[in-house]
Symmetry: C2
Subunit: 338 residues, 2 copies
DNA sequence: ATCCTCCGTGTAATCGATTCCACAAGGAGG
DNA sequence: CCTCCTTGTGGAATCGATTACACGGAGGAT
């Protein structure tokens, strides 16, 4: 592959002049510029980003470590992050942690080794030593979706509290009184917060949330299946299962179906995170939708602010309830289908 | 961030010795090695991958350009590619083309600028000049899923021909005679092949495939919606719609639902690409499943073979039909629900 | 005519690693 | 005791860019 020296030779100038042309530095004569441009063209030259990064100490690359690429919520987030980054002239390298802390650490380390300009993380756990070190280090960092309490890093996320209150109101209006939740890992903020918000909303109606109605999941379909099995084996099974993410809802649906039960007549189901398929499941599933596009944009903006020396603030955006048919209907509910 | 010089100073040796320790070169005395390891530890030193890449002319990074991250088929593929690559000590940078050729070119260019060691591509179109140049260039390349005819690059893909024949046999047995297809872009191999295989299978039963029964899609949900609208507006609408990917099936389902029709009683639906949600749609959808895990592994293996100087061959794996309820049932069909 | 500016350009240092080559020390063999 | 080889080590070149600095020439001011 042609290097800057080849271009210089071809154009009959020094490498400095070629570099000036590449970086559109003003002091290059029109004649020289023309010759350089022609040489670049004829050699099909492209600057070596590796060499450039070494010299300038910036890669124009952002790292994004997400918890699970197979989760449609995170792929939507990843897509919007990439889009926003591209608009600002940055590339994105995605690391998929598969909800495994050691894999998350692997990606963080690899990204740091590559000297990415900034790191966007949706932490899988409460914070490994590596993650805490990184947060304290000079590499700009921003948490997205999930965060680690006590770590001084801006957070961009959606607040589901309000939407969960709406959901509980809806469930109560329909007539449900025995409500269960499949939680995410307690080590993640989204894992614990959603349970807390749910419990609090229930309290508003004087409904308790017994331990037997809290299933421990890990945001994967299988755990949703297992938690649901356990609920169904209870002497008093719940009327409603609220899954803290879409994959666990899928698992719950699997289990419910395996038991030959119908939704919502035998048991109702709701999920955190809305995905296109929820419109077409049997029945369409009531869910809480997060503004993934806005989250991605805000996260990139915050990170680039840090990179460029500005001081970003945390951003919290509202999530909203989308009522479908999986929880039954009350006379007062007006239906919304999209 | 500490550099190799700092480590050398701390350990009281030269940078050469530190480098030897880093690369586990044999001729370093145990004493020196110990001191270097201690220095690395105490400084928290991590080698700069950018500098290393510049010198060694290898990045231990693979590029993967896929057509659409939001398509679960491609995210599954991306995940298995990353996994296989990691096992061989490579990182993967994913570029999402969103089915847009210019975006695909953007990613290819960026990846090439970063001097990735090899490129995995699922081309969005018939081959831009850049793509053709790249195929001819010295950068190792392998096509995955889709390919570009006439370009001398190994291809790793699934062959759906057999499964499509099985699908048509199933549809015929159920009693369907008016079969339509929503095709992908003709510029993609998967776009045209699936139509061809479908047409050929129909021919086996003496059933024609009129142009009005071929919807032009672009692998996105919206196009599935539009094609379905057109089918339903026909004087003789089809009995069955076969969508050439899962997103267009989603769009078709949207349109069918908007018309107040029921699947499979009013119209049957089948899709290429199986995804977990198809088990829970109303009704569960008959689909053709590709072995994404094997595809990803085989693609990485082929690419790494090329990188390391071996001569890989193309790989074609079989896809298989998964019958569910969206096409109705014949007495002779034995049902399979997973 | 002389001096000063400014402009365009080239030389060379630099980023952080790897690696060729030279060299010193020590042991083996004659 | 001298030579030769092995082993461990350091100096310095190198990868491909960017950029500080020096310099020569043109043009304007005096």
């Amino acid at each position: 592959m042609a290097s800057i020296k080849d271009v210089a030779a071809e154009a009959g100038v020094s490498v400095a002049t070629v570099s000036r042309v590449l970086n559109s530095h003003p002091s290059v004569s029109p004649a020289a510029r023309t010759r350089v441009v022609a040489a670049i063209e004829s050699l099909g030259y492209r600057p070596n980003a590796v060499a450039r990064s070494l010299r300038t100490d910036q890669t124009r690359t952002l790292g994004l470590v997400i918890s699970d690429v197979l989760n449609p919520y995170f792929t939507a987030l990843a897509r919007s992050v990439e889009e926003a980054a591209r608009a600002l002239g940055y590339s994105v390298i995605i690391g998929n942690a598969d909800e495994r802390p050691e894999l998350q650490d692997h990606h963080v380390r690899t990204l740091l080794d590559r000297r990415i300009d900034g790191l966007l993380v949706s932490p899988t756990d409460g914070g490994s030593p590596l993650m805490l070190d990184t947060a304290r280090s000079s590499t700009p960092m921003v948490f997205v979706d999930r965060w680690i309490p006590g770590v001084d890093v801006p957070v961009v996320r959606a607040d589901g509290r309000e939407a969960i209150r709406d959901l509980v109101a809806h469930l109560h209006a329909v007539g449900h009184r025995r409500l269960a939740i499949i939680a995410g890992p307690a080590a993640t903020t989204t894992g614990s917060e959603r349970v807390e918000a749910f419990r609090e909303a229930l309290r508003g109606y004087g409904i308790p949330l017994p331990d037997s109605y809290i299933g421990q999941g890990d945001f994967q379909a299988d755990s949703g299946r297992r938690a649901t099995e356990r609920f169904l084996a209870l002497p008093q099974p719940p009327h409603v299962i609220f899954a803290a993410d879409n994959l666990m809802a899928l698992g719950a649906l699997d289990a419910i179906r395996a038991h030959g039960l119908r939704v919502p007549d035998d048991i109702a189901l709701a999920a955190f995170d809305d995905i296109p398929w929820f419109v077409h499941t049997d029945p369409p599933i009531t869910a809480i939708a997060q503004p993934t596009g806005d989250l991605g944009r805000a996260a990139v903006q915050a990170l680039v602010d840090r990179i460029e020396g500005r001081q970003p603030r945390s951003v919290t955006l509202p999530a909203r309830l989308v009522v479908r048919r999986s929880c039954g209907e009350s006379p007062t509910d007006q239906r919304s289908n999209t």
